[in-house]
Protein backbone atom coordinates (compact mmCIF):
# COMPACT_ATOMS: atom_id res chain seq x y z
CA UNK A 1 0.00 0.00 0.00
CA UNK A 2 1.51 3.43 -0.91
CA UNK A 3 2.25 5.74 2.03
CA UNK A 4 -0.45 8.28 2.81
CA UNK A 5 -0.01 11.58 0.92
CA UNK A 6 1.69 14.15 3.15
CA UNK A 7 -0.14 17.28 4.28
CA UNK A 8 3.08 19.18 3.73
CA UNK A 9 6.39 18.31 2.17
CA UNK A 10 9.53 20.44 2.18
CA UNK A 11 12.45 19.45 -0.01
CA UNK A 12 15.97 20.79 0.04
CA UNK A 13 15.11 24.01 1.83
CA UNK A 14 17.95 26.47 2.10
CA UNK A 15 17.71 30.06 3.18
CA UNK A 16 20.49 32.59 3.16
CA UNK A 17 20.54 36.06 4.72
CA UNK A 18 23.44 37.65 2.89
CA UNK A 19 26.47 35.50 3.61
CA UNK A 20 24.72 33.83 6.55
CA UNK A 21 23.05 30.51 5.73
CA UNK A 22 20.18 29.93 8.15
CA UNK A 23 19.00 26.65 6.58
CA UNK A 24 21.08 24.17 4.59
CA UNK A 25 19.07 21.58 2.69
CA UNK A 26 16.25 20.77 5.12
CA UNK A 27 13.66 18.14 4.16
CA UNK A 28 10.44 17.56 6.09
CA UNK A 29 7.46 15.34 5.40
CA UNK A 30 4.38 15.90 7.57
CA UNK A 31 1.63 13.32 7.23
CA UNK A 32 -1.91 13.43 8.61
CA UNK A 33 -1.93 12.70 12.32
CA UNK A 34 1.78 13.39 12.71
CA UNK A 35 3.33 15.82 15.16
CA UNK A 36 6.96 16.75 14.76
CA UNK A 37 8.63 18.34 17.78
CA UNK A 38 11.60 20.41 16.65
CA UNK A 39 14.32 21.36 19.10
CA UNK A 40 17.68 22.97 18.63
CA UNK A 41 19.95 25.67 20.01
CA UNK A 42 19.31 29.38 19.48
CA UNK A 43 20.05 30.41 15.91
CA UNK A 44 19.69 26.89 14.54
CA UNK A 45 17.10 28.03 11.99
CA UNK A 46 13.92 26.76 13.70
CA UNK A 47 11.90 29.95 13.33
CA UNK A 48 13.14 30.47 9.77
CA UNK A 49 12.00 26.94 8.93
CA UNK A 50 8.53 27.60 10.39
CA UNK A 51 8.22 30.87 8.45
CA UNK A 52 9.14 29.09 5.23
CA UNK A 53 6.71 26.24 5.92
CA UNK A 54 3.97 28.82 6.61
CA UNK A 55 4.69 30.63 3.35
CA UNK A 56 5.80 33.84 5.06
CA UNK A 57 9.30 33.57 3.67
CA UNK A 58 10.64 32.30 0.36
CA UNK A 59 13.35 29.66 0.57
CA UNK A 60 16.54 30.54 -1.29
CA UNK A 61 16.40 27.07 -2.86
CA UNK A 62 14.07 24.12 -2.42
CA UNK A 63 10.30 24.05 -2.24
CA UNK A 64 7.37 23.46 0.07
CA UNK A 65 4.21 21.78 -1.24
CA UNK A 66 0.90 21.06 0.45
CA UNK A 67 -1.23 17.96 -0.19
CA UNK A 68 -2.95 19.54 -3.19
CA UNK A 69 0.36 20.45 -4.81
CA UNK A 70 0.05 24.13 -4.00
CA UNK A 71 2.74 26.08 -2.21
CA UNK A 72 1.78 27.68 1.11
CA UNK A 73 2.29 31.09 -0.53
CA UNK A 74 -0.78 30.47 -2.69
CA UNK A 75 -3.69 32.51 -1.20
CA UNK A 76 -6.08 29.55 -1.39
CA UNK A 77 -3.55 27.27 0.34
CA UNK A 78 -3.00 29.68 3.23
CA UNK A 79 -6.41 28.67 4.60
CA UNK A 80 -4.94 25.25 5.43
CA UNK A 81 -2.07 26.54 7.55
CA UNK A 82 -2.16 28.03 11.05
CA UNK A 83 0.93 29.66 12.52
CA UNK A 84 1.58 30.57 16.13
CA UNK A 85 4.66 32.76 16.27
CA UNK A 86 6.60 34.04 19.26
CA UNK A 87 4.84 37.34 18.56
CA UNK A 88 1.12 37.34 19.31
CA UNK A 89 -0.10 38.75 15.93
CA UNK A 90 -2.74 40.61 17.95
CA UNK A 91 -3.68 44.29 18.04
CA UNK A 92 -3.12 45.60 21.56
CA UNK A 93 -5.96 48.12 21.43
CA UNK A 94 -8.58 45.67 20.18
CA UNK A 95 -10.30 43.29 22.56
CA UNK A 96 -9.68 39.56 22.38
CA UNK A 97 -13.07 39.13 20.72
CA UNK A 98 -12.43 41.90 18.18
CA UNK A 99 -9.08 40.36 17.31
CA UNK A 100 -10.74 37.00 16.61
CA UNK A 101 -13.56 38.65 14.63
CA UNK A 102 -11.01 40.43 12.48
CA UNK A 103 -9.13 37.18 11.83
CA UNK A 104 -12.41 35.43 11.02
CA UNK A 105 -13.33 38.11 8.49
CA UNK A 106 -9.98 37.74 6.73
CA UNK A 107 -10.55 33.99 6.47
CA UNK A 108 -14.17 34.45 5.38
CA UNK A 109 -15.45 32.31 8.27
CA UNK A 110 -19.16 31.90 8.84
CA UNK A 111 -21.01 32.19 12.14
CA UNK A 112 -18.20 34.34 13.42
CA UNK A 113 -19.73 35.49 16.70
CA UNK A 114 -20.40 31.93 17.88
CA UNK A 115 -17.04 30.67 16.64
CA UNK A 116 -15.12 33.46 18.42
CA UNK A 117 -17.09 32.96 21.64
CA UNK A 118 -16.43 29.23 21.54
CA UNK A 119 -12.70 29.76 20.93
CA UNK A 120 -12.48 32.21 23.84
CA UNK A 121 -14.40 29.88 26.09
CA UNK A 122 -12.07 26.99 25.19
CA UNK A 123 -9.14 29.29 25.96
CA UNK A 124 -10.68 30.00 29.37
CA UNK A 125 -11.01 33.67 28.53
CA UNK A 126 -14.77 34.16 28.27
CA UNK A 127 -14.70 36.61 31.19
CA UNK A 128 -11.92 38.72 29.62
CA UNK A 129 -13.18 38.50 26.02
CA UNK A 130 -14.09 42.18 25.87
CA UNK A 131 -10.93 43.57 27.46
CA UNK A 132 -8.28 45.10 25.21
CA UNK A 133 -5.52 42.54 24.86
CA UNK A 134 -2.97 45.04 26.20
CA UNK A 135 -4.63 44.50 29.61
CA UNK A 136 -4.13 40.72 29.55
CA UNK A 137 -1.29 38.88 31.25
CA UNK A 138 1.44 37.17 29.19
CA UNK A 139 -0.20 33.78 29.59
CA UNK A 140 -3.66 35.07 28.65
CA UNK A 141 -2.19 36.81 25.63
CA UNK A 142 -0.63 33.51 24.56
CA UNK A 143 -4.01 31.80 24.90
CA UNK A 144 -5.68 34.42 22.69
CA UNK A 145 -2.81 34.08 20.20
CA UNK A 146 -3.39 30.31 20.09
CA UNK A 147 -7.14 30.82 19.64
CA UNK A 148 -6.39 33.24 16.78
CA UNK A 149 -4.01 30.81 15.06
CA UNK A 150 -6.51 27.94 15.23
CA UNK A 151 -9.73 29.88 14.59
CA UNK A 152 -9.97 28.80 10.95
CA UNK A 153 -9.36 25.13 11.86
CA UNK A 154 -6.26 24.60 9.70
CA UNK A 155 -5.02 21.13 8.68
CA UNK A 156 -1.44 22.08 9.42
CA UNK A 157 -0.48 23.72 12.71
CA UNK A 158 2.92 25.38 12.95
CA UNK A 159 3.63 26.38 16.52
CA UNK A 160 6.66 28.32 17.75
CA UNK A 161 7.09 27.83 21.49
CA UNK A 162 3.34 27.41 22.16
CA UNK A 163 3.80 26.75 25.88
CA UNK A 164 5.60 30.04 26.60
CA UNK A 165 3.93 31.99 29.37
CA UNK A 166 1.24 29.43 30.08
CA UNK A 167 0.48 28.39 33.63
CA UNK A 168 0.42 24.68 34.50
CA UNK A 169 -3.34 24.08 33.91
CA UNK A 170 -3.27 26.06 30.63
CA UNK A 171 -0.21 24.14 29.41
CA UNK A 172 -1.91 20.85 30.28
CA UNK A 173 -5.06 21.97 28.47
CA UNK A 174 -3.02 22.95 25.40
CA UNK A 175 -1.22 19.59 25.40
CA UNK A 176 -4.59 17.82 25.48
CA UNK A 177 -5.90 20.04 22.72
CA UNK A 178 -2.89 19.45 20.48
CA UNK A 179 -3.06 15.68 21.09
CA UNK A 180 -6.72 15.81 20.03
CA UNK A 181 -5.80 17.77 16.90
CA UNK A 182 -3.21 15.18 15.98
CA UNK A 183 -5.68 12.35 16.63
CA UNK A 184 -8.15 14.11 14.33
CA UNK A 185 -5.65 13.79 11.48
CA UNK A 186 -4.11 17.24 11.51
CA UNK A 187 -0.37 17.70 11.13
CA UNK A 188 1.65 19.62 13.70
CA UNK A 189 5.15 21.07 13.75
CA UNK A 190 6.06 22.34 17.22
CA UNK A 191 9.25 24.28 17.78
CA UNK A 192 10.20 24.12 21.41
CA UNK A 193 13.14 24.39 23.78
CA UNK A 194 11.22 22.24 26.25
CA UNK A 195 10.76 18.89 24.55
CA UNK A 196 9.05 17.45 27.63
CA UNK A 197 6.03 19.68 26.88
CA UNK A 198 5.51 18.12 23.45
CA UNK A 199 6.86 14.65 24.10
CA UNK A 200 3.50 13.15 25.03
CA UNK A 201 1.82 13.82 21.72
CA UNK A 202 4.78 14.08 19.31
CA UNK A 203 5.12 11.27 16.77
CA UNK A 204 8.49 12.50 15.49
CA UNK A 205 11.35 14.47 16.95
CA UNK A 206 13.81 16.60 15.05
CA UNK A 207 16.91 18.40 16.22
CA UNK A 208 18.01 21.29 14.06
CA UNK A 209 21.60 22.45 14.44
CA UNK A 210 23.43 25.01 12.28
CA UNK A 211 20.63 24.99 9.71
CA UNK A 212 20.34 21.27 9.13
CA UNK A 213 18.83 18.22 10.78
CA UNK A 214 21.13 16.69 13.34
CA UNK A 215 18.38 14.14 13.79
CA UNK A 216 14.87 13.64 12.45
CA UNK A 217 12.86 10.50 13.00
CA UNK A 218 10.14 8.75 14.98
CA UNK A 219 10.00 9.77 18.61
CA UNK A 220 12.35 7.63 20.73
CA UNK A 221 10.80 5.75 23.61
CA UNK A 222 12.59 7.58 26.38
CA UNK A 223 12.80 11.36 26.74
CA UNK A 224 15.54 11.02 29.35
CA UNK A 225 17.76 8.97 27.04
CA UNK A 226 17.10 11.38 24.19
CA UNK A 227 18.01 14.39 26.32
CA UNK A 228 21.16 12.62 27.52
CA UNK A 229 22.39 12.46 23.93
CA UNK A 230 21.01 15.84 22.88
CA UNK A 231 24.11 17.96 23.42
CA UNK A 232 26.22 15.45 21.51
CA UNK A 233 23.77 15.67 18.59
CA UNK A 234 23.90 19.45 18.59
CA UNK A 235 27.69 19.59 18.80
CA UNK A 236 28.36 16.86 16.21
Amino acid sequence: MPPEAPLLEARGITRAFGAQRALRGVDLRLGPGEAVAVAGPNGAGKTTLLRILAGLMRPTTGEVRLADGRTPRDPAARRRVGLLSHQSFLYDDLTARENLHFTGRLYGLGDLAARASRALEEAGLAARADDPVRQLSRGMLQRVAIARALLHEPDILLLDEPFTGLDVPSAARLRGFLAAQRAAGRGLVIVTHHLAEAWGFATHVGVLARGQWAQLGPRPASLEEFLAGYQELVDA
Partner: protein, 226 residues
Protein backbone atom coordinates in the same frame (compact mmCIF):
# COMPACT_ATOMS: atom_id res chain seq x y z
CA UNK B 1 -19.35 41.02 -2.46
CA UNK B 2 -16.03 39.67 -3.81
CA UNK B 3 -13.75 38.25 -1.13
CA UNK B 4 -10.92 40.69 -1.89
CA UNK B 5 -13.25 43.68 -1.43
CA UNK B 6 -14.61 42.21 1.81
CA UNK B 7 -11.08 41.69 3.10
CA UNK B 8 -9.99 45.21 2.14
CA UNK B 9 -13.01 46.66 3.96
CA UNK B 10 -12.30 44.48 7.02
CA UNK B 11 -8.71 45.80 7.14
CA UNK B 12 -9.82 49.40 6.66
CA UNK B 13 -12.54 48.97 9.30
CA UNK B 14 -10.02 47.52 11.77
CA UNK B 15 -7.63 50.44 11.19
CA UNK B 16 -10.40 52.99 11.69
CA UNK B 17 -11.57 51.25 14.85
CA UNK B 18 -8.01 51.26 16.21
CA UNK B 19 -7.51 54.89 15.30
CA UNK B 20 -10.77 56.12 16.79
CA UNK B 21 -10.00 54.15 19.94
CA UNK B 22 -6.52 55.64 20.43
CA UNK B 23 -6.81 58.82 18.31
CA UNK B 24 -3.00 58.96 18.23
CA UNK B 25 -2.50 59.56 14.52
CA UNK B 26 -5.54 61.76 13.95
CA UNK B 27 -4.87 63.99 16.90
CA UNK B 28 -1.19 64.41 16.05
CA UNK B 29 -1.97 65.16 12.40
CA UNK B 30 -4.70 67.65 13.27
CA UNK B 31 -2.61 69.47 15.89
CA UNK B 32 0.29 69.56 13.42
CA UNK B 33 -2.02 71.02 10.73
CA UNK B 34 -3.36 73.69 13.09
CA UNK B 35 0.15 74.68 14.15
CA UNK B 36 1.30 74.93 10.54
CA UNK B 37 -1.64 77.17 9.67
CA UNK B 38 -0.92 79.32 12.73
CA UNK B 39 2.73 79.71 11.77
CA UNK B 40 1.78 80.72 8.22
CA UNK B 41 -0.84 83.12 9.49
CA UNK B 42 1.30 84.95 12.01
CA UNK B 43 4.64 84.87 10.20
CA UNK B 44 3.54 86.66 7.02
CA UNK B 45 3.74 90.37 6.45
CA UNK B 46 0.34 91.26 5.01
CA UNK B 47 1.71 94.47 3.46
CA UNK B 48 4.17 92.43 1.35
CA UNK B 49 2.32 89.19 0.58
CA UNK B 50 -1.38 89.19 -0.18
CA UNK B 51 -3.62 86.52 1.26
CA UNK B 52 -4.58 85.16 -2.16
CA UNK B 53 -0.90 84.71 -3.05
CA UNK B 54 -0.01 82.83 0.10
CA UNK B 55 -3.25 80.94 0.89
CA UNK B 56 -2.98 78.13 -1.71
CA UNK B 57 0.58 77.25 -0.71
CA UNK B 58 -0.28 77.46 2.98
CA UNK B 59 -3.26 75.14 2.51
CA UNK B 60 -1.30 72.52 0.59
CA UNK B 61 1.79 72.55 2.75
CA UNK B 62 -0.47 72.08 5.76
CA UNK B 63 -2.39 69.24 4.08
CA UNK B 64 0.79 67.54 2.84
CA UNK B 65 2.57 67.49 6.19
CA UNK B 66 -0.61 66.59 8.08
CA UNK B 67 -1.06 63.67 5.70
CA UNK B 68 2.48 62.42 6.28
CA UNK B 69 1.90 62.46 10.03
CA UNK B 70 -1.40 60.56 9.59
CA UNK B 71 0.07 57.98 7.20
CA UNK B 72 3.09 57.25 9.35
CA UNK B 73 1.00 55.06 11.62
CA UNK B 74 -0.47 52.88 8.86
CA UNK B 75 2.02 50.04 9.10
CA UNK B 76 3.52 50.83 12.48
CA UNK B 77 0.35 49.39 14.07
CA UNK B 78 0.95 46.22 12.03
CA UNK B 79 4.55 45.96 13.18
CA UNK B 80 3.64 45.90 16.87
CA UNK B 81 3.15 42.26 17.89
CA UNK B 82 3.96 41.14 14.33
CA UNK B 83 0.38 41.59 13.10
CA UNK B 84 1.68 42.24 9.57
CA UNK B 85 2.58 38.54 9.41
CA UNK B 86 -0.99 37.60 10.32
CA UNK B 87 -2.22 39.73 7.41
CA UNK B 88 0.26 38.09 5.06
CA UNK B 89 -0.73 34.61 6.26
CA UNK B 90 -4.43 35.19 5.64
CA UNK B 91 -5.95 33.92 2.37
CA UNK B 92 -6.22 37.47 1.10
CA UNK B 93 -4.61 38.82 -2.09
CA UNK B 94 -1.78 41.24 -1.33
CA UNK B 95 -3.64 43.86 -3.36
CA UNK B 96 -6.57 43.65 -0.93
CA UNK B 97 -4.24 44.34 2.00
CA UNK B 98 -2.89 47.37 0.14
CA UNK B 99 -6.41 48.61 -0.58
CA UNK B 100 -7.49 48.13 3.03
CA UNK B 101 -4.61 50.27 4.26
CA UNK B 102 -5.09 52.76 1.40
CA UNK B 103 -8.80 53.24 2.21
CA UNK B 104 -8.08 53.70 5.91
CA UNK B 105 -5.35 56.25 5.11
CA UNK B 106 -7.72 58.08 2.76
CA UNK B 107 -10.28 58.27 5.55
CA UNK B 108 -7.69 59.58 8.06
CA UNK B 109 -6.22 62.17 5.72
CA UNK B 110 -9.71 63.15 4.47
CA UNK B 111 -10.80 63.74 8.05
CA UNK B 112 -7.71 65.82 8.80
CA UNK B 113 -8.44 67.88 5.66
CA UNK B 114 -12.11 68.27 6.60
CA UNK B 115 -11.06 69.64 9.99
CA UNK B 116 -8.30 71.81 8.53
CA UNK B 117 -10.29 73.48 5.74
CA UNK B 118 -12.61 75.56 8.00
CA UNK B 119 -9.57 76.70 10.02
CA UNK B 120 -7.84 77.68 6.80
CA UNK B 121 -10.85 79.82 5.82
CA UNK B 122 -10.90 81.34 9.30
CA UNK B 123 -7.18 82.17 9.49
CA UNK B 124 -6.77 83.41 5.92
CA UNK B 125 -10.20 84.92 5.49
CA UNK B 126 -10.43 83.66 1.90
CA UNK B 127 -13.76 83.78 0.01
CA UNK B 128 -14.06 80.03 -0.42
CA UNK B 129 -17.82 79.99 -1.15
CA UNK B 130 -17.98 79.78 -4.97
CA UNK B 131 -14.63 77.98 -5.19
CA UNK B 132 -15.58 75.33 -2.63
CA UNK B 133 -16.68 72.52 -4.99
CA UNK B 134 -13.53 72.94 -7.09
CA UNK B 135 -11.26 73.06 -4.05
CA UNK B 136 -12.91 69.97 -2.59
CA UNK B 137 -12.51 68.13 -5.92
CA UNK B 138 -8.84 69.14 -5.98
CA UNK B 139 -8.37 67.97 -2.39
CA UNK B 140 -9.91 64.60 -3.29
CA UNK B 141 -7.82 64.10 -6.43
CA UNK B 142 -4.51 65.22 -4.92
CA UNK B 143 -5.10 63.26 -1.72
CA UNK B 144 -5.79 60.00 -3.57
CA UNK B 145 -2.46 60.37 -5.37
CA UNK B 146 -0.18 61.00 -2.44
CA UNK B 147 -2.01 58.63 -0.11
CA UNK B 148 -1.58 55.87 -2.72
CA UNK B 149 2.18 56.44 -2.71
CA UNK B 150 2.35 57.09 1.05
CA UNK B 151 0.63 53.79 1.80
CA UNK B 152 3.13 51.68 -0.10
CA UNK B 153 6.09 53.69 1.20
CA UNK B 154 4.92 53.27 4.80
CA UNK B 155 4.84 49.49 4.17
CA UNK B 156 8.32 49.71 2.67
CA UNK B 157 9.90 51.58 5.58
CA UNK B 158 8.16 49.80 8.43
CA UNK B 159 10.87 47.13 8.67
CA UNK B 160 13.59 49.78 8.85
CA UNK B 161 14.91 51.13 12.14
CA UNK B 162 13.78 54.72 11.63
CA UNK B 163 10.45 54.19 9.89
CA UNK B 164 8.88 57.41 11.14
CA UNK B 165 11.78 59.48 9.83
CA UNK B 166 12.10 57.63 6.54
CA UNK B 167 8.54 58.14 5.31
CA UNK B 168 8.67 61.96 5.01
CA UNK B 169 12.05 61.76 3.26
CA UNK B 170 10.82 59.21 0.72
CA UNK B 171 7.35 60.55 0.08
CA UNK B 172 8.10 64.23 -0.47
CA UNK B 173 9.53 63.78 -4.01
CA UNK B 174 6.41 61.83 -4.98
CA UNK B 175 4.20 64.54 -3.51
CA UNK B 176 5.68 67.28 -5.68
CA UNK B 177 3.64 66.63 -8.88
CA UNK B 178 0.21 66.48 -7.18
CA UNK B 179 1.13 69.43 -4.95
CA UNK B 180 2.14 71.60 -7.91
CA UNK B 181 -1.13 70.77 -9.64
CA UNK B 182 -3.19 71.30 -6.52
CA UNK B 183 -1.60 74.67 -5.72
CA UNK B 184 -2.13 75.87 -9.29
CA UNK B 185 -5.79 74.85 -9.26
CA UNK B 186 -6.45 76.29 -5.80
CA UNK B 187 -4.78 79.61 -6.64
CA UNK B 188 -6.90 80.05 -9.74
CA UNK B 189 -10.12 79.01 -8.05
CA UNK B 190 -9.53 81.31 -5.08
CA UNK B 191 -8.75 84.07 -7.59
CA UNK B 192 -12.26 83.65 -9.00
CA UNK B 193 -11.26 81.87 -12.20
CA UNK B 194 -13.73 79.33 -13.64
CA UNK B 195 -13.28 75.59 -13.22
CA UNK B 196 -12.91 75.15 -16.97
CA UNK B 197 -9.61 77.03 -16.80
CA UNK B 198 -8.06 74.35 -14.56
CA UNK B 199 -9.37 71.24 -16.27
CA UNK B 200 -5.90 70.42 -17.59
CA UNK B 201 -4.45 70.38 -14.06
CA UNK B 202 -7.37 68.31 -12.80
CA UNK B 203 -6.79 65.78 -15.60
CA UNK B 204 -3.14 65.64 -14.59
CA UNK B 205 -4.12 64.93 -10.98
CA UNK B 206 -6.57 62.24 -12.14
CA UNK B 207 -3.92 60.61 -14.32
CA UNK B 208 -1.43 60.63 -11.44
CA UNK B 209 -4.05 58.88 -9.28
CA UNK B 210 -4.81 56.16 -11.83
CA UNK B 211 -1.14 55.49 -12.54
CA UNK B 212 0.02 55.38 -8.93
CA UNK B 213 -2.96 53.51 -7.48
CA UNK B 214 -2.47 50.84 -10.17
CA UNK B 215 1.32 50.68 -9.79
CA UNK B 216 1.17 50.55 -6.00
CA UNK B 217 -1.50 47.81 -6.01
CA UNK B 218 0.67 45.71 -8.33
CA UNK B 219 3.94 46.43 -6.52
CA UNK B 220 2.67 45.86 -2.99
CA UNK B 221 3.41 42.14 -3.01
CA UNK B 222 7.06 42.78 -3.88
CA UNK B 223 7.29 45.27 -1.03
CA UNK B 224 5.88 43.11 1.77
CA UNK B 225 6.93 39.59 0.80
CA UNK B 226 10.17 38.19 2.20
Amino acid sequence: MPEAVRSALAIAGKDLRLEFRTRTGLLSAFVFAVLTLLVFNFSRDQSLISTTDLAPSALWITVAFGAVVAMNRAFIIEKEQGAIDALLLAPVPRGAIYWGKFLANLAFVGLVEALTLPLFVLFFNVPLGPALPGVVLTLVLATIGFVAVGTILSAMVVRTRFAELMLPVLILPFMVPPLIGAVQVTARLLGGRPLTEVLGWLRLLGTYDVVFVTLCTLAFSAVVDE
